[in-house]
Structures are given as structure tokens and as C-alpha cells.
């Protein structure tokens, strides 16, 4: 049997609520700085939840020098284009006319829909009484605007990314709710491993901080209602946690076949070593109390990476700060690691950034790569009294210096899809660190 092709992570790009680039985000995560604040994107004064973790002072035109392309982009696509640009610059490699066919793209895309202003415009013209009058729709400006159409398709983001960067190989969009980003990274791993492509731009993007997005989560009572203390609203594994803090943003990685990355002298953050995914098949929103489902995805990721539980130094938890998720995830980590659970450091960076939904998994894989690169673990912010049912070795109060051999990134979605991505320190692959 021939050995599996290895995959190197050679570029990172982040647009998050705590920083519009990798360095700013990383510094904020180490400090446990919160992105939570009163919602500024719309008037949320009447909503039960009036807080969110917004990307701040983002200027798409400054980040992406292509005004024509940006006409086809909504807010989340702007994040995606900016983060992808950063990742490619960081990697120092781009598709060229000779190898564009060997580049793939896998993205975790949020739910499709039109911007709220467009929904209101259609309402005003074609549904003033609350029901759509299809005949009125025929001369509705919004429903006849091709730009609105192009911005609202499920593959809009994918089309903008592949066009801008001339990616001509296997290109795909996936959506498994909050696991989307992790599944996109896992998809890209498989594409390179099986030889469909040699390079991949992989990531996730989302922005649900809109009246309809916030409404959807409010109706499910999934969000923290700590409107007076937004910076403390996300507190995964704390006994007082009461829901998640909705975030937005994008995370992208440049992935390359390991040997060719080494040959060109690329800096390598980590090996993208393994992917596991499973279905809980329990309930659509609920997490199984015993961790069934996440247990299998973690075990598969380790097996796929050729790693054992003794190799794992860090888990970036899904850790949403909902009562159920954090207990279920803790149970799963206990089941997988057994007595070794005391030795594995865990933090949920959603404590700082909030929950980036379809972008979360990709952003958090990037954070695991940074933890390996810097030998430092971001803090699980806002932890005052740890839930005794979440008995994990959480990184609390301050960041932890630690050599990370293997890191795991967990993502679990509504619908029961569980994703776990395993990363390995490059020194442990071939003795070479981030830079030669």
C-alpha cells in the first residue's frame, strides 16, 4: 500500500469579530478579548437579543481591489474574498495559467437568501398585506434585479473566489450548518490526498447578523440574552452560560501537497493530518448527552491522522456556550481521552469571537494551526465558575505556553453533522519547523 499524500497548511487568512487579519485576531484570542457588543448593523432595540459579535471597520473595497467583483458580493462574500486574499499572500503562491487546473476550492457557505433590505423591498411592492402577490412580483424591481439574484445564490461565494483566483480544478460548496467550515476543510484534505488536485483554497464564510438571522436563532432560544454584558455573553463551559453569541466572518487556508510545499520552501504551519465526520442522528438541534456522534468524529480524525490520544495536546472545542452542547462535547472528550483527559488542554475561542456559524470550523482550524506554530494556546475567556459536568483542562485566565504536537478542531452542526479536523506539528513530520 502506498502512503497517503500529506497536506501542508501554508497560508492563513482571517476576518473575525476580534480582528480583520490573522495577527490581530491571534493577539485578541490570546488576551481573551471579546468581540461582543450591541448590534450596530441594524436597529435591534425591539429584539429579545440586542447583542452580537460583529466584524468591525471592515472595508471590502480596501481589502479586495476589484470593485466590479464586489458588486456581486454580499457582506459575507466580502469577508471571504478578503480572508482568501490574505491566505494566498501568506502562502506566497497562487494559481497560474500552467497549474490552475491543479487547484481546488472547498468552501463552507452559509444559508442562502437575500439581504434584509431586498426582502423589505419585495414585501413593500409585492406583499404589502403579508402574502406574496405573484402578479405584482412581475414588475418588482428587486425581484428583477440580476445583481440581487447573483448575490443570493448558494454558489455565489464559490464563483467569486474561483473567478478572482482562477481556480479551475474541483470546486465545491458545502453546508452542514455550524459544521460547514470544518467539513469544507475536510473535503479539501480528501481532494489533495486522492490526487484530484495538488493545491486547495479552503475555508468558510458567513454573516447572519441581520434581522432575519437574529430572529431565526431568537425563535429557537439559542442565543444568550445578556444584553447588558455583551463581552461576557459567550462563556463556554461556565456554569452560568445561557446561549451563544452570534458572530460573523471568514477563515481561509491554503493547502498544498506536502512534498511540493517543501520543495518550494514554503513556510508550513502544520500538517492537515486527518478528518473525521459523523452523524449524531439524535435530534435536529439537540446534542446527545453522552457525546455519541462527536466521539466517532474525534476517533476517526485521530485514526485518519495516524495519531493516538497520547499525541494530542490541544482541542479547540466547538464550545458554543449553550447548556447542552458544552456538556455533550465534554462527555465526548471524556469518552475519547479517558484518563488522559487531564493532559489535554481545551479552549473554545467562541468565548472571544462568538459563533461564526458556517465560518466557525474553518476559522478554528486556522487557530489550531496558529497554536501549533506559536506553541501557545488561546484562552477560554469568560470562565469564572467551571461547570462540574464540563470537567476539562480548560485554558483559563491566561494563554498557555505549550508545545502542540497534535491539535483537534471540533465542529458540530444543527442536523447532527459532526466534524473533527486533526493537525500535526511540522517538526513531527520531517523535523522542519515553520521556517527552515
Amino acid at each position: 500500500m502506498t502512503a497517503k499524500r500529506r497536506i501542508a497548511i501554508t497560508g492563513l487568512g482571517l476576518v473575525t469579530p476580534v480582528g480583520n487579519d490573522v495577527a490581530t485576531t491571534w493577539t485578541a484570542l490570546l488576551a481573551g478579548k471579546s468581540g461582543g457588543a450591541a448590534i450596530s448593523l441594524f436597529d435591534a432595540s425591539g429584539f429579545p437579543v440586542r447583542i452580537a459579535s460583529e466584524v468591525k471597520r471592515f472595508d471590502a473595497a480596501a481589502a479586495v481591489d476589484d470593485r466590479k467583483l464586489l458588486k456581486f458580493a454580499n457582506r459575507s462574500h466580502g469577508f471571504a474574498l478578503a480572508a482568501a486574499e490574505q491566505a494566498l499572500v501568506d502562502a506566497g503562491i497562487r494559481p497560474t495559467s500552467t497549474d490552475a487546473e491543479r487547484w481546488g476550492c472547498a468552501v463552507g457557505t452559509g444559508m442562502m437568501g437575500v439581504d434584509f433590505a431586498e426582502l423589505v423591498a419585495v414585501h413593500r411592492h409585492s406583499a404589502p398585506d403579508g402574502e406574496l402577490d405573484a402578479t405584482r412580483l412581475l414588475d418588482d424591481a428587486s425581484a428583477n434585479n440580476p445583481l440581487v439574484f447573483c448575490r443570493s445564490q448558494s454558489t455565489t461565494g464559490l464563483s467569486l473566489l474561483t473567478r478572482r483566483h482562477d481556480i479551475r480544478g474541483y470546486a465545491t460548496s458545502v453546508h452542514t450548518a455550524c459544521a460547514s467550515g470544518g467539513q469544507a476543510i475536510g473535503t479539501a484534505l480528501k481532494l489533495i490526498r486522492r490526487g484530484s488536485v495538488d493545491y486547495a483554497l479552503a475555508g468558510g464564510f458567513d454573516s447572519m447578523i441581520s434581522p432575519v438571522g437574529i430572529a431565526g436563532f431568537c425563535l429557537l432560544s439559542a442565543l444568550s440574552v445578556d444584553n447588558d454584558t455583551p463581552e461576557r455573553a459567550s462563556r463556554p463551559f461556565d456554569i452560568t452560560r445561557n446561549g451563544f453569541l452570534l458572530g460573523e466572518g471568514a477563515g481561509f487556508l491554503v493547502l498544498e501537497e506536502w512534498e511540493s510545499a517543501r520543495q518550494r520552501g514554503a513556510h508550513v504551519y502544520a500538517e492537515l493530518a486527518g478528518d473525521g465526520n459523523s452523524l449524531s442522528s439524535y435530534r435536529i438541534t439537540d446534542s446527545p448527552p453522552d457525546g455519541d456522534g462527536p466521539i466517532q468524529s474525534m476517533r476517526q480524525a485521530l485514526a485518519d491522522a495516524g495519531a493516538s490520544i497520547g499525541d494530542v495536546d490541544y482541542i479547540n472545542a466547538h464550545g458554543t456556550s449553550t447548556f447542552m452542547n458544552d456538556r455533550s462535547e465534554s462527555a465526548a472528550i471524556h469518552a475519547v481521552f479517558g484518563a488522559r483527559v487531564r493532559d489535554v488542554a481545551v479552549s473554545s475561542t467562541k468565548s472571544s469571537m462568538g459563533h461564526l456559524i458556517a465560518a466557525a470550523g474553518a476559522v478554528e482550524v486556522a487557530i489550531c494551526a496558529l497554536a501549533i506554530r506559536h506553541g501557545e494556546l488561546p484562552v477560554n475567556a469568560n470562565l469564572r465558575e467551571q461547570d462540574p459536568e464540563c470537567d476539562l483542562a480548560l485554558v483559563r485566565d491566561k494563554p498557555q505556553q505549550r508545545r502542540v504536537r497534535v491539535a483537534l478542531s471540533n465542529s458540530f452542526g444543527f442536523g447532527g453533522s459532526n466534524s473533527c479536523v486533526a493537525l500535526r506539528r511540522p517538526e513531527d513530520v520531517d523535523g522542519i519547523g515553520f521556517q527552515r
Binding site: 490552475a100 403579508g130 402574502e131 454558489t155 474561483t162 473567478r163 465545491t172 429557537l220
Partner: protein, 425 residues
């Protein structure tokens, strides 16, 4: 290392032409189109009125569980139905019931689910229209009145991955999975990714499903406005073709490693030989005249399957009936097959374009056709178009040259996929 062989042990399909693959294929072979006037809303004043709607839809006939209907949309109904039919046909769940509990649990953990989903629609957001009216479009009132006006399950009903999650819950599958929201090639990619999961040992059996229900006013209007819709009929590769038309529905394959199927003496309908995908990278709606990425996907699929173009006995073309796509598809077929392409058919004329379900329902029908040793006629084809030369499409049925079919599929964002299936003897 030899790849593990992936066999097909069950199929299911639903669309305007019928509720199982056999009935749909019989309608196709009889030259009967199921495309007609849209009935879901009043199209009296609409310039475009045709689609392949599933009529007389009683949701309970599709999914028995009444409680579930509050949690899913029309498109999910089709996906869950087709999936259940494929599972029943394969008897893979019935077989699990014969296993001891530990073995049954392991069996479920080793059963994957791969779904191609449309990714969402416009109508879901209309659920907020009554609230916008009540609130007079003012946000503070919108926020205050929210919970008294909108279904608390709104977000769940809207999830693009509902079919994946509910197949898992209903049938107890817990293995590797994906929900692919890649427009028209989503269903085809579900088959390709499920096949890869079986080849590499991520799972021992998997369900691949594609489903969509794109027939809604705002979607029809946009497609019309950008020039993609026909006035009345899909005429693949015909000189008179003037666009495509929506259909709706779903299809599914039950796939297993050969070992898994043999060990339980399952009926083997065929084999997935391979597949591939490539992109043209020119934007959401742009199409390259030379069909470059489609040709590359076809070539890569042949390589993946380890066969030559001359081994292919039938082409199930994408043939969506738009002037530009069909011409560029023909260019790709000429590039790969020269002037010696096998007989081709294009199914969309009979029941419309299922978008995320298109590639997979056409793959199911292509397999069923090969099992009957027929390349069904494309009934609306009459006038050959010189720019589509090389595509051996005919209004009359043809004989396949072998037991292998290449199924082609194309979507927005310049995405293309090719899938190779072999029918069992």
C-alpha cells in the same frame, strides 16, 4: 493499493414524470413530457408558465411521519422520499435488523450519507412577510412581535442540510457525511464523494441523494430575466432550443463496497466506476464556448475509472436546452470522443431541470436504461444544430454500445462533473 469497488444496490427517484425510476423511464420511453403550466401560483399574467411540477402532492404519501412536516420544506420531502425508496430497494436497513446489537451499532457507524441540496430558496424568507406587515416594516416592532408571529421552527425548516439530518435520524445512519450545496452538480458530487468514502474505507455503505424544488416565483423570474428559460419546451441540442425549464424532485443511490454487498447477498444493479469535477472560473453565469472544464472533468473521470473513451457505451448529457450550454457541451464531447461518440440522450425535456437533483436523477435513469439495453429517445429533438455536431442524440431510441454510461452535469459558477456507471449484467 487497489481501490475498493463500489456497487449500487438500490435506487429511488421522484419527479413530475413519476415516483419511481421505472415509471419515470417508461414515461420517457413513451415520449411523454410531464412539463406543463405551473400550478403553485397564478401564472395567468406571467410570460413564462411551464415547469415540471409534481402534481397531486400529498405530503403524507411521501413521508408518513406527520410531526416531521412542520420541520421540513417541499424539497426535503422529495429527498427523504427518494432516499427511503433506495434504502428499501437495497434492504440495507432490513439487513441491519438481523444483526446483534453491537454489530448493528457498528453497521450504523459505517453507513454514510451524502446529499446534494439546493441550498435554500427565496420563499423561506417570505415567512417574515406577515410580520413585516404587522410591524409596518419598522424594525423595533418587527423585533417585539417576532415570537408571536413567526413559526418558532423557522430556522430549522430552512436548513439546507435537513435531508441529511433527517435521513440519519429516520434510518439510524451515523457515518461519514456531507451536504453539498453546489447548485446543479450537488447531486452528482454526492455520488462521487460517497464513492470516495467507500473506496478509502471511511464507510462500508452510503446513501447518495440529490433533491431540489426550485419552482417558486422569484426564482423563476430571475432565471427568466437572465435568459435561461424556454417559453415552453426543453429541446436539447436542437437548432430551435431556446432555454431550460425547472423541474423538481429527487433521486438516490444506495451504494456499498462490493464486499459489503456480497456478504449479505444484496442485489447488485451496477457499479460506480468513477467520477470527476472541474471548474471554468469565469463567474456565476458565464460559460466557456469550448466547454473546457467539462472536457477536463470527462477526461479525469475516465482516468479515475481506468477506462477509455471508447469503452463508454452511452452518454447521458446535461442538455439543459439553453443555446450556449448545449453548444459548449457538444464541444466538450467532441474533444473527448472525437467523431466517434456513443449514442446520447438528454432527459430534461421530459420532466425539467431538477437543479441540485438533476445529475443524480439522470444517473439513476441512465442506469435503469442500460439495464434495459436502451438509450431512450430525446422526444423533442428534431432539427440538428451544426454547432452541436458530434452529440449522437435522436428522437428515437438507440442501442447502447456497451454497459457503461457517462453522465454529464453542469452548474452555476462554471462547475462541471462527469460520472461513470456500469450496469450489472
Amino acid at each position: 493499493m487497489d481501490k475498493r469497488r463500489v456497487v449500487i444496490t438500490g435506487i429511488g427517484a421522484v419527479c413530475a414524470a413519476g415516483r419511481d425510476p421505472q415509471a419515470i423511464l417508461e414515461a420517457v420511453c413513451a415520449g411523454r413530457s410531464s412539463i406543463g403550466p405551473i400550478r403553485q401560483w397564478d401564472v395567468a399574467h406571467w410570460p413564462m408558465q411551464a415547469a415540471g411540477e409534481i402534481s397531486d402532492l400529498n405530503p403524507r404519501d411521501m413521508v408518513e411521519d406527520r410531526k416531521l412536516h412542520k420541520l421540513i420544506r417541499r424539497t426535503d420531502l422529495f429527498g427523504l422520499y427518494a432516499a427511503a425508496r433506495a434504502i428499501d430497494a437495497s434492504a440495507m436497513v432490513a439487513y441491519r435488523a438481523t444483526l446483534a446489537s453491537d454489530a448493528a451499532a457498528a453497521y450504523s457507524d459505517r453507513t454514510g450519507v451524502y446529499v446534494g441540496s439546493g441550498g435554500g430558496n427565496y420563499e423561506s424568507q417570505y415567512d417574515y412577510f406577515p410580520l413585516l406587515t404587522t410591524a409596518n416594516e419598522e424594525l423595533p416592532a418587527f423585533g417585539r412581535e417576532l415570537s408571536s408571529t413567526v413559526n418558532p421552527m423557522w430556522l430549522l425548516r430552512t436548513l439546507p442540510n435537513n435531508v441529511l439530518g433527517h435521513i440519519g435520524i429516520r434510518h439510524g445512519f451515523k457515518g461519514a457525511n456531507a451536504c453539498i450545496t453546489n447548485h446543479s452538480i450537488g447531486g452528482t458530487l454526492a455520488v462521487i464523494e460517497a464513492t470516495e468514502a467507500l473506496r478509502t474505507g471511511e464507510a462500508d455503505r452510503a446513501l447518495a441523494v440529490g433533491h431540489d424544488a426550485p419552482i417558486e416565483p422569484q426564482m423563476v423570474l430571475y432565471y427568466h430575466d437572465v435568459g435561461l428559460l424556454s417559453k415552453d419546451t426543453i429541446r436539447p441540442f436542437d437548432a430551435r432550443r431556446d432555454g431550460s425549464l425547472f423541474g423538481e424532485g429527487a433521486a438516490a443511490f444506495a451504494l456499498e463496497t462490493e464486499d459489503s454487498a456480497l456478504s449479505r447477498a444484496a442485489p447488485i444493479l451496477g457499479e460506480v466506476l468513477g467520477g470527476a469535477s472541474a471548474t471554468d472560473a469565469q463567474g456565476l453565469l458565464a460559460i466557456r464556448d469550448d466547454g473546457d472544464a467539462l472536457a477536463r472533468a470527462m477526461e479525469s473521470a475516465l482516468t479515475d475509472a481506468g477506462i477509455r473513451a471508447s469503452d463508454v457505451g452511452m452518454i447521458a448529457a446535461h442538455g439543459n436546452g439553453t443555446p450556449q450550454s448545449d453548444a459548449s457541451e457538444a464541444a466538450a464531447i467532441r474533444r473527448v470522443f472525437g467523431d466517434n461518440a456513443p449514442p446520447a440522450t438528454a432527459f430534461k425535456w421530459a420532466f425539467g431541470h431538477l437543479i441540485a437533483g438533476a445529475g443524480i436523477i439522470e444517473a439513476v435513469l441512465a442506469l435503469e436504461s442500460l439495464r434495459r439495453r436502451i438509450v431512450p429517445g430525446t422526444a423533442t429533438f428534431a432539427v440538428a444544430d451544426p454547432v452541436c455536431a458530434g452529440v449522437k442524440v435522436s428522437a428515437e431510441p438507440q442501442l447502447p454500445r456497451s454497459d457503461v454510461v457517462m453522465v454529464l452535469c453542469r452548474g452555476f459558477a462554471g462547475t462541471n462533473a462527469a460520472l461513470l456507471l456500469r450496469a450489472a449484467a
